[in-house]
């Protein structure tokens, strides 16, 4: 049995020299196991000043908006074609008149808007008034240059609505408060808070499939049928311009 060329002491010394490298390897192993967590975080910290700015975000948002708009146009064309096949009254989006709100009383005894356009611009009684976000009310009376809108919140306001998720009809009645009451026609309702309320897809009096409100709370013990309180999507107290769907 031959003797080793190196003494025992020198082997120990070389191990001592190498142990930091072993620790480094272990650390890198941990980095590997954690999918590079430390590296990614450090990179994020260092590269933060060079991240894409608002301009780039706007480009992307514009692209997304354009995509959504073009899809909407295609869907509207498709919808108009299908409604034509079903021989429902056609209310094309081109028949909308822009009108300024010249007087506004969203609360109090009479909840109404006064618009700066009237029968000269083709507006007639019962035309639907649409604000940013959805239906606001219906034209109650017109003069040659103005029209008066009864808001959906006004006492006495009643329109037929549709719940797309549960495919049920209801009656939206104004109570004077900011939240109108949705009166169901059926005893059995599967509606939930957060459900969208829109105009009926088969509506001929109002523009079809127009968002109106979101369900806030439900009273299942209502007589003769359950009721719900809804929050309107278009806030009438903050609207300066509306669109009137003329017929």
């Amino acid at each position: 049995m031959g003797l080793s060329q190196r003494p025992q002491g020198s082997r120990l010394r070389s191990f001592r020299r190498l142990w930091p490298w072993f620790i480094l390897l272990v650390v890198l192993g941990l980095v590997r196991l954690s999918k590079g967590a430390g590296f990614a975080d450090a990179f994020a910290l260092l590269s933060r000043p060079f991240w894409p700015g608002s301009a780039q975000r706007e480009w992307i948002e514009t692209a997304v908006r354009q995509d959504a708009t073009s899809r909407l146009q295609l869907l509207e064309q498709d919808n108009a074609r299908l409604r034509g096949l079903l021989e429902l009254d056609r209310l094309s989006s081109g028949d909308r008149v822009q009108a300024a709100v010249i007087s506004r009383t969203p609360s109090g005894w009479w909840q109404q808007l006064e618009l700066g356009k009237g029968s000269f611009n083709g507006i007639a009684k019962d035309d639907a008034v649409i604000g940013p976000g959805g239906l606001v009310g219906r034209v109650q009376s017109v003069t040659p240059a103005t029209s008066r809108v009864r808001l959906l919140t006004a006492p006495g306001s009643r329109i037929g609505v549709w719940l797309p998720r549960t495919r049920q009809h209801g009656l939206l009645a104004g109570l004077g408060t900011a939240r109108p009451q949705l009166q169901f026609l059926d005893k059995e309702v599967q509606v939930r808070p957060g459900d969208l309320v829109s105009t009926s897809p088969a509506s001929t009096l109002l523009p079809p499939n127009l968002p109106v409100a979101v369900v806030q709370s439900i009273n299942l013990r209502g007589v003769p049928a359950p009721t719900a309180l809804v929050q309107l999507i278009a806030p009438p107290d903050a609207i300066d311009w509306v669109q009137v769907q003329v017929r």
Binding site: L175, G176, T177
Partner: protein
């Protein structure tokens, strides 16, 4: 000088009521409810010009305001009643025309107006509890803000009109 209803400028001042009704300043509201501009104008008018003139002015204002507002409920009964009553009170002289009294009279008048509208709502619309709660809230809020504004607006109007038509 002639009585108020014989002075065109005083009669023309009634046009401010529908104007303010339409302008509806959003900063002058109490919990979303604005004051009754008709009551604010009618109170000093009736106090100065008497019950008959007050009643007729109330009816005239009511006709204009009913034309400007939606629905079937009318302000005319309350405005006529208040115009006539305030006209009778005006004959009692100066004590009734102090600022606090003006505020109190306007508060009572607007309360009567609110109750009359509430009654009409009960007859014409449903008796839903939420609707009643809203009507109570609107009545009280409108009466309060009108009562608070009346000492400022009404006293100034009284001073002006008293000079033009001394008792």
């Amino acid at each position: 000088m002639a009585r108020l209803h014989r002075q065109p400028i005083c009669v023309a001042s009634a046009l401010l009521v529908p104007l303010f009704q339409l302008v509806a300043p959003s900063w002058l509201v109490l919990d979303g409810v604005g004051p009754s501009w008709a009551m604010l104008w009618l109170l000093p008018w009736a106090l100065v010009d008497g019950p008959v003139s007050g009643g007729i002015a109330g009816a005239a204002l009511g006709l204009v305001l009913d034309g400007l507002s939606l629905g079937d409920s009318s302000q005319i009964p309350a405005l006529v009643l208040m115009g006539w009553w305030w006209g009778r009170l005006g004959r009692r002289g100066q004590p009734i025309q102090r600022s606090l009294n003006i505020g109190l009279l306007a508060w009572i008048g607007t309360l009567v107006l609110g109750l009359s509208l509430w009654l009409q709502l009960l007859m014409l619309e449903s008796a839903d509890a939420l609707l009643q709660a809203w009507a109570l809230h609107t009545t009280l809020a409108q009466a309060l803000i009108t009562g608070l504004l009346a000492p400022m607006v009404g006293s100034w109007q009284l001073l002006l009109w008293r000079r033009r038509a001394p008792a």
